[in-house]
């Protein structure tokens, strides 16, 4: 579904990605692991069109997308839930969700999806009229994911959904990510620091180090890998 081939990218003089290749199959959950600054977020920025690759290619269903603008990429069904959630904090929960469906014109479908998001995250229904900034961290992450779902994505890019959340809340979020993948058939590319949880729900994973893919394998193999255990699983 999505294929990156030898992607290099930089922020001015600072090189972020040095030839990253990866592939996400339709219907699967794929995870990208790595330390801070390894290039995980930059990879997602390239896919979303926020960072132009200097070389290499990004293909979505066989079509080159590395020259498209961010809004054109959303139009294709590639939707990112960014790191740090990036909510519209002064707008209401409801308005944030409506903005998720910004490019859609099918009113009935939007209303349906709103109900669907509320069924995943009942707390959001209660807080509809509240400013997004007044929600707790966990609720904000739920809103960020709900906002992403409102675009009716085909590929959902999740950047550190567990960041700053209590373990219990994190587990709840991951349960829902799994449900989104299994019940809606939405393909998920998950960037995550919590390698254990990520490898639990992902079919396969990539390990990034200083802008390079150093490991690419099925989750069960990565879990057994000596290097991964030491660096990312902590045992």
């Amino acid at each position: 579904m999505l294929r990156l081939e030898g992607v290099t990218a930089a922020y001015g003089p600072i090189v972020a990605l040095r030839g990253v290749s990866l592939e996400v199959e339709a219907g699967s959950v794929v995870t990208i692991l790595g330390a801070n600054g390894a290039g995980k977020t930059s990879t997602l920025r390239v896919i979303s069109g926020l960072l132009r690759p200097q070389s290499g290619s990004v293909e979505f269903e066989g079509m080159a997308i590395d020259r498209l603008s961010p809004d054109q990429i959303v139009r294709l069904g590639i939707v990112q839930v960014p790191e740090g959630r990036q909510l519209f904090v002064n707008l209401t929960v409801r308005e944030n969700l409506e903005l998720g469906a910004y490019l859609r014109r099918d009113r009935a479908g939007i209303r349906q999806d709103l109900e669907r998001v509320f069924s995943y995250f009942p707390i959001l229904a209660e807080r509809q009229r509240q400013a997004a900034g007044s929600l707790s961290g966990g609720e904000q992450q739920m809103l960020a994911i709900g906002r992403g779902l409102m675009a009716r994505p085909r590929l959902l890019l999740l950047d550190e959904p567990s960041l700053g959340l209590a373990p219990l809340v994190t587990r709840e979020i991951f349960r829902i990510i799994r449900a989104i993948n299994e019940q809606e058939g939405i393909t998920v590319l998950l960037v995550e620091q919590n390698a254990r949880l990520a490898l639990d729900i992902a079919r396969k994973g990539y390990v990034l180090e200083t802008g390079r893919v150093v490991l690419a394998d099925l989750s069960e193999n990565l879990r057994r890998n000596e290097e991964v255990r030491r660096s990312y699983l902590g045992y």
Partner: protein, 324 residues
């Protein structure tokens, strides 16, 4: 000696009416202030509209409006009957401002987007000078100032009991308030309005929603230009037309925008009315020897500084927290 002093102090320049001596005068000044305040609110809104979405203060706001008003003056004199209708000119002034704002954003501002604030400030100041010079070159040949038509009489007044209010000021208020209400509806009840608010707040997230942020910025500048254009055509019949005619309005409106909070739309409106009323009351109740009419502008700015010392974000402004 004593007689001399008391004689001096009773000279007309030292005398000023006191509010409690004549409440109807006070009421009249408040009403007149509110009516003028609508104009300041309109231009303050134009400033805020750009500032909240791009962090740019458009110093060329006044000259864009001035340029548009001169253009309207030209087509007024073109001899085409349709253009001799002042109502038509008022609408066209708004449309011209809309187009000018969009062009300025695309051609002048877009290339310096993301550059340091000082660079952008210099660019808007440059635009100020260019528009001013070009307008002087084209239109300031021959006699200045030039008269500009109004849909209502500039000289006639309506009597509302305690006050007599010039017709034209009522027009300024009505059109200004109308434009503000329309803008409020656009922002709060339309999808594109929601997208503009989202873009102003978090451009990165707006992009991820599929919003074309560049288009939203152009739209913001266009709307701002439209408000300025309307303001220019509204005040020109009163102050008459010359290349610097919008400058005092711009200064009062800056004061209004900062007073209300540069990133607050309601703040701009409230600030505009406060500045309008303050200007009138200060002009009426301070002795001319201390504060002549020519001092009302500096005084408004002093008031502004005083308020900012107490509340740096303005009355309704929000402190913005920026995460890098």
């Amino acid at each position: 000696m004593e007689a001399l002093l008391s004689g001096l102090l009773s000279a007309p320049v030292f005398l000023a009416p006191k509010p409690w001596e004549d409440w109807s005068l006070f009421g009249e000044q408040v009403v007149l202030g509110l009516l003028t305040g609508a104009l300041y609110a309109l231009v303050a809104l134009a400033i805020v509209l750009i500032y909240r979405s791009t962090d740019i203060i458009n110093f060329a706001q006044s000259e864009m409006a001035m340029f548009g008003t001169f253009a309207m003056w030209s087509i007024w004199l073109s001899g085409v009957a349709f253009f001799s209708n002042p109502w038509v000119l008022l609408v066209l002034a708004g449309l011209f401002g809309l187009g000018l704002g969009a062009v300025v954003e695309r051609v002048v501002i877009r290339p310096v987007e993301g550059k340091p604030v000082l660079t952008i400030v210099v660019v808007t100041l440059g635009l100020f000078l260019v528009l001013n010079s070009v307008a002087t070159w084209i239109w300031a040949q021959g006699e200045l100032p030039k008269s500009f038509p109004s849909p209502l009489s500039v000289l006639d007044s309506w009597d509302i009991g305690f006050a007599s209010i010039p017709e034209h000021r009522v027009l300024i208020f009505a059109v200004g308030a109308g434009a503000m209400v329309l803008l409020g509806l656009l922002f709060n009840y339309t999808k594109v309005g929601l997208a503009m608010r989202a873009t102003a707040q978090n451009p990165l997230a707006a992009q991820l929603m599929g919003i074309n942020v560049g288009n939203m910025l152009t739209l913001g500048w266009a709307l701002s230009g439209a408000l300025g254009g309307i303001a220019g055509a509204l005040i020109a019949p009163v102050v008459t037309l010359h290349p610097a005619f919008m400058l005092p309005v711009l200064l009062y409106s800056f004061a209004a925008a900062v007073l209300g909070g540069l990133n607050s739309v309601p703040g701009a409106v409230v600030g505009g009315f406060i500045i309008g009323v303050a200007e009138n009351l200060l002009g009426t109740y301070t002795p001319h020897a201390i504060l002549g009419p020519e001092m009302s502008l500096p005084l408004a700015l002093m008031l502004l500084v005083a308020i900012l010392l107490v509340r740096p974000t303005g009355l309704l402004g929000e402190r913005t927290v920026r995460k890098v």
